[in-house]
C-alpha cells in the first residue's frame, strides 16, 4: 500500500473489521495501515466514518454490541486481540496512550487532576504515590500549565477546557507510551489554545520518537502537523498518502472534494456603498456588566461600537469569553445592555418594551449555534419553520404550506423533509432548518452564532455556500459571530476583533487578513492552521520543529 518501510512498523492494522455481525454492514471495513516510529499519521474523515471506533479498536476495547469480525491489530509484532487481561491493561495507557476529545468529560470530577495523572502512572509502574505526584507535576509543567503544583490539586471543574485538555494529554504521556492516539484532541478549543496544544504534542513526539495517530476532521491540522494522511469514508480507508503529495492532488475523488471544501472562498464582492447610505444596524458604546454591586462584576461588553450597512456582512471574531455572543444577544434584545444604544434602520430600539420590539423581530432574526438544542425535538420541521410565521400577518393553510416548501427549497432541502423530526436529520440538515426558520420572516438582518463550528468539512463548506448564496439573492445583512477565521474569509466584508469585551481592531476583511495591525489580531491569525499557504506565511509546524 505504501513505499517500502524504513523501519519495522510500531502499529499495524491488518484488515481490521468491526461491526455488529450478521448481515449488517461492518462499521470498520478491512482497515489496513501502519504507523512507524517518529511518524505522525493524520486520520481524516467525516462524522460516522469510524475514526473514533478505530482508536478504541486499536486498544482492544470496542463499545458494547460491537465486535471484531476480522483482521488484526499488531503492536510491536504481537496481536492486540491475543493479549490476556493484565497484558492488555499494560498496553492500554502503558504502551499506547489515548487522548480523547471533550477532556472535561474524561476526567473524574471528584478527584484532583494531579492524582488522576498519578493514578495512570501507578497502574503501569511500581512507583509510590509521592513519586507519581511529582512526576505528574513535572509533566503538567511540560505540557504548558503554569503553576503546576497548585493546578495538580485542582478539580476538573476548576479548570478551563484548554487546561483540562492538557491534563488529559499529560495522562496519556505520563507512562512514556510508544504510540499516541489523539482522537480530535483539540476539538472545541480556541484557536490559539489549539495551536499551542498541537505544537506541544508535535514537539514531544519528535523528541521522543513516538508514533502518533492524529484523528481529526480538520485538514488544516493535518497539513500543519502530520507526515502522512489517511482518509476514511464509511468505515473504509480509501487513501493513504504523504501529506505534501496529498495536498498537491489527492487520488480519490472523495479526498479531492474534502480538500476543495476546506479551502477558503474569495470574499463575495458587493456593490460599493455610497457614503450617504444609512447603516441598517448601529451599536453605540454598548456596555454589559454581569454581577451585582456586592458580587464580582464582569464587564462582558466594554464600550463596543459597530455598524452594518444593507447587504453587508460583519464578523465579530474572538475567543471564548471575549463578549462576541453577548454583543449578538444585545442586538437581538435577548439581553439588555447596561448602557449604550442600538439603532436599527435609524430608530433607537434599545429601550423598547418586549411588546413594542416585537414588530422588529421579523426584521432581525438569529440562527443559533447548536441547532439541535434550538429545535423543539417533538415538533416536525413543518411546525418548526411555521412557528416563525406567527410574527407575520395571518395566512391561509395553503399559503403556509407553499411558503414552507419554498423555504426548504431555499436552504436546498427536499420538501419531503417537512414532516421529519429534528433527531431524524443530520447536523448539517439541522443547521439548514435553523437557517430556514430565520429566513421565514424575510428579515433584513440575520445574526449567525458560530454557524460553522463542529461541522464536517464538506457540510461546513455547503453551509458557507448556502449563506453566500442567500445573501446575494436576498440582499440581507448579516452579523457573523465566530472564531472560525476560515469561514470569515469566505463570508465577511468587515471584521471586528474582540478581546475582553472590547473591539481591538475593526477594519475590512481584506485589510485585516493582509496587514493585521494589533498584536492580538496577529496572534489569532498565526494560530490559524490553513489548508493553503496564505501569501507571505509558511509555517508547517512539523517541518519547523524537525529542522
Amino acid at each position: 500500500m505504501h513505499a517500502p518501510l524504513d523501519a519495522t512498523p510500531l502499529l499495524e492494522l491488518d484488515g481490521l473489521t468491526v461491526g455488529i455481525g450478521g448481515d449488517a454492514a461492518p462499521i470498520l471495513n478491512a482497515v489496513t495501515c501502519t504507523l512507524r516510529r517518529n511518524e505522525i499519521l493524520g486520520i481524516v474523515g467525516e462524522t460516522g466514518a469510524g475514526k473514533s471506533l478505530l482508536t478504541k479498536a486499536v486498544l482492544g476495547l470496542v463499545p458494547e454490541g460491537l465486535r471484531v469480525l476480522g483482521g488484526d491489530v499488531r503492536f510491536d509484532g504481537c496481536s492486540v486481540f491475543d493479549r490476556r487481561n493484565e497484558d492488555l491493561r499494560d498496553l492500554r495507557g502503558g504502551k499506547i496512550g489515548l487522548i480523547g476529545t471533550n477532556a472535561k468529560a474524561l476526567l473524574d470530577p471528584v478527584a484532583p487532576v494531579g492524582r488522576q495523572i498519578a493514578r495512570v502512572l501507578r497502574a503501569h509502574a511500581r512507583v509510590g504515590e509521592s513519586e507519581a505526584q511529582s512526576r505528574a507535576i513535572a509533566l503538567l509543567r511540560e505540557v504548558g500549565i503554569t503553576d503546576p503544583e497548585r493546578r495538580a490539586k485542582a478539580y476538573p471543574h476548576e479548570l478551563s477546557g484548554g487546561m483540562a485538555q492538557r491534563v488529559v494529554i499529560a495522562m496519556a504521556l505520563v507512562t512514556d507510551p510508544a504510540v499516541l492516539l489523539a482522537d480530535d484532541a483539540t476539538l472545541g478549543l480556541d484557536a490559539t489554545v489549539q495551536a499551542q496544544v498541537l505544537d506541544m504534542l508535535v514537539q514531544r513526539c519528535r523528541r521522543r520518537g513516538l508514533g502518533v495517530m492524529l484523528v481529526t476532521h480538520d485538514l488544516g491540522i493535518v497539513r500543519n502537523c502530520c507526515d502522512r494522511i489517511a482518509v476514511m469514508r464509511e468505515g473504509e480507508l480509501i487513501e493513504i498518502e504523504n501529506v505534501d503529495a496529498f495536498l498537491r492532488g489527492p487520488r480519490q475523488a472523495y479526498s479531492r472534494s474534502l480538500l476543495e471544501a476546506a479551502k477558503a472562498r474569495p470574499t463575495p464582492s458587493i456593490a460599493r456603498h455610497t457614503a450617504s447610505e444609512r447603516p441598517l444596524l448601529q451599536a453605540e458604546k454598548l456596555v454589559k456588566i454581569y454581577g451585582g454591586p456586592f458580587t464580582h462584576q464582569v464587564r462582558a461588553l466594554d464600550g463596543v461600537d459597530f455598524s452594518i450597512r444593507p447587504r453587508e456582512t460583519l464578523a465579530l471574531v474572538g475567543e471564548s469569553g471575549s463578549g462576541k455572543t453577548t454583543a449578538g444577544q444585545c442586538v437581538l434584545r435577548l439581553t439588555n445592555p447596561t448602557s449604550g444604544r442600538i439603532l436599527f434602520d435609524g430608530e433607537d430600539v434599545t429601550d423598547l418594551s418586549a411588546q413594542k420590539f416585537k414588530p422588529w423581530r421579523r426584521r432581525i432574526q438569529m440562527v443559533f449555534q447548536e441547532p439541535y438544542v434550538a429545535l423543539n425535538p417533538r415538533w416536525r420541521v413543518r411546525d418548526l419553520i411555521g412557528e416563525s410565521f406567527r410574527l407575520l400577518d395571518p395566512m391561509s393553510r395553503g399559503e403556509r404550506e407553499r411558503r414552507i416548501s419554498a423555504l426548504l427549497d431555499a436552504v436546498h432541502l427536499p420538501s419531503s423533509l417537512a414532516s421529519a423530526f429534528p433527531h431524524e436529520l443530520s447536523a448539517g440538515e439541522q443547521k439548514r432548518i435553523g437557517i430556514a426558520r430565520a429566513l421565514a420572516t424575510d428579515p433584513d438582518l440575520v445574526i449567525f452564532d458560530e454557524p460553522t463550528t463542529a461541522l464536517d468539512i464538506r457540510v461546513r463548506a455547503q453551509i458557507i455556500d448556502l449563506i453566500r448564496d442567500l445573501q446575494s439573492r436576498r440582499g440581507m445583512s448579516a452579523l457573523f459571530i465566530t472564531h472560525d477565521l476560515n469561514s470569515v474569509r469566505s463570508l465577511a466584508h468587515n471584521v471586528a476583533v474582540m478581546l475582553h469585551g472590547r473591539i481591538v481592531e475593526y477594519r475590512s476583511a481584506e485589510d485585516i487578513f493582509a496587514t493585521p495591525r494589533e498584536a492580538y489580531t496577529r496572534k489569532l491569525l498565526d494560530a490559524e492552521l490553513p489548508v493553503e499557504d496564505p501569501p507571505g506565511r509558511a509555517t508547517n509546524v512539523s517541518e519547523a520543529i524537525a529542522v
Partner: protein, 346 residues
C-alpha cells in the same frame, strides 16, 4: 475585608464543618421552641390534666402558680429554655423518674440497635449495588433484582417474627428475643450505655457475647427491611458513574478495574449519603415494632408508652431528644456530602 480573607484561607473541610456547626445552634433553638409550643397547643389545661377531673379550682390555681403557668408566654418560654439547658425535662408521673433519666437509660439501647443496623444496611446495599452493576446478569444481579422488587413490601414485624420463629424456635441458633442481654448475666458498668462497647471496656467476655448475639436478630430485621430502598438508590447512582465517559477513559488508560470501581463509587456517594441519613433519622421512631418484639426497652417503645399514657413531659422530652438526634445525623450527612463533592462551594 480581612475576616473574609482569613475565612477563605482556611482548608475547605474546616470551613464546611464550621459552617454546619454554626447552623446547629439556631436550629436547636427552633426545635426547642417547637417542642415548647407543642404542649401549649394541646387542648385543655395542663394543671387540670395533671390533677384530674375531680380537682378543685383552688388546687388547680395553686398548681398553676407552682408550674408558672400564670406567667406570660415569653416568661414561660424562658423558664423552659433555662430548665432544658440545666437538663431538667420534667418528671414522668408514670415511671416516677425524671424524663432525662428515662431517656438516658433508653436512648443507648435504640442508638446501639440503629447504629449496627445502619452499618449492616449500608454495607449490604452498596455491595449488592456495586456487584450487580459491575456484573449484570450475574447471580448477585438477579438476587438483587428480586430482592429490590419485594423489599418495599416486607413489613418489619413480619420479618422479625419469621426470624424469631426459624432462627430461635426451630433451629435454636439465635438467643431468646427477651431484651438486650441475658437476664442471668450481669450487665457491664454503664459508660457509654452501648452494651457491646461497655463490655469490651470492662473486659467482660460473657456479657459481650450475650449482648452481641441478642443484637443479631433485630439488627438483621431492620437491615432486611431497609436495605432494599438504599440498594436501589445506590444502584442508580453507581450505574450512572460506572457507565460515564471518565470511567471508560480510565479503562482505556489501563487503570485496574478495582481502582475504577472505587473511583466510580466515590462519585456515586452523595445520594447514598443523603438517603442513609434519612433512613437513620427515620428509624429512631420507626424501629418501635422491632423494639417491642425483642423487648428492647428503647426510645421508640418509651415514646409510644408516653403517648398512650398522655405523659406530656415524656413526649416533650422524646421529641426534643429525637430532633436533636436527627439534627446531628443530618449535619453529619451534610458535612460528608460536601466533602464527597468538591464542586459544592463553601
Amino acid at each position: 475585608m480581612p475576616l473574609a480573607a482569613t475565612w477563605h484561607r482556611l482548608p475547605r473541610f474546616v470551613r464546611i464543618i464550621l459552617t454546619r456547626l454554626g447552623m446547629i445552634v439556631p436550629q436547636m433553638l427552633g426545635v426547642t421552641l417547637v417542642t415548647f409550643l407543642l404542649v401549649r397547643l394541646l387542648p385543655g389545661d395542663p394543671a387540670r390534666l395533671i390533677l384530674g377531673n375531680f380537682a378543685t379550682d383552688d388546687s388547680i390555681k395553686a398548681l398553676k402558680q407552682h408550674l408558672g403557668l400564670d406567667q406570660s408566654l415569653p416568661v414561660q418560654m424562658e423558664r423552659y429554655l433555662i430548665a432544658v439547658l440545666h437538663g431538667d425535662l420534667g418528671m414522668s408521673p408514670f415511671t416516677s423518674n425524671p424524663v432525662l433519666t428515662d431517656l438516658a437509660q433508653r436512648a443507648p439501647a435504640t442508638l446501639e440497635l440503629i447504629g449496627y443496623a445502619m452499618i449492616l444496611t449500608v454495607i449490604a446495599a452498596v455491595s449488592l449495588a456495586v456487584i450487580s452493576v459491575v456484573r449484570p446478569g450475574g447471580i448477585v444481579d438477579v438476587v438483587a433484582r428480586i430482592y429490590g422488587l419485594v423489599a418495599g413490601a416486607i413489613p418489619d414485624f413480619w420479618v422479625a417474627l419469621l426470624l424469631v420463629f426459624f432462627l430461635f424456635h426451630i433451629l435454636g441458633w439465635a438467643p431468646a428475643p427477651f431484651g438486650r442481654i441475658d437476664a442471668m448475666i450481669n450487665a457491664p458498668p454503664t459508660i457509654t450505655g452501648f452494651l457491646t462497647i461497655d463490655s469490651v471496656i470492662a473486659g467482660d467476655r460473657t456479657a459481650f457475647w450475650s449482648a452481641a448475639s441478642r443484637l443479631v436478630l433485630p439488627v438483621l430485621t431492620i437491615a432486611i427491611v431497609n436495605t432494599g430502598a438504599l440498594m436501589k438508590m445506590a444502584q442508580t447512582s453507581f450505574r450512572g458513574a460506572y457507565q460515564s465517559e471518565f470511567v471508560n477513559h480510565m479503562r482505556l488508560c489501563g487503570v485496574p478495574e478495582r481502582r475504577i470501581i472505587r473511583s466510580a463509587l466515590r462519585n456515586a456517594l452523595p445520594p447514598i449519603i443523603s438517603q442513609t441519613s434519612f433512613i437513620t433519622g427515620f428509624l429512631l421512631g420507626a424501629a418501635v415494632l422491632v423494639e417491642t418484639i425483642f423487648a428492647w426497652g428503647g426510645l421508640g417503645q418509651y415514646a409510644v408508652q408516653a403517648v398512650v399514657n398522655s405523659d406530656y413531659a415524656a413526649i416533650q422530652g422524646f421529641v426534643l431528644v429525637a430532633s436533636a438526634f436527627v439534627l446531628v445525623v443530618y449535619s453529619v450527612a451534610d458535612i460528608l456530602y460536601e466533602l464527597a463533592d468538591p464542586r459544592i462551594q463553601v
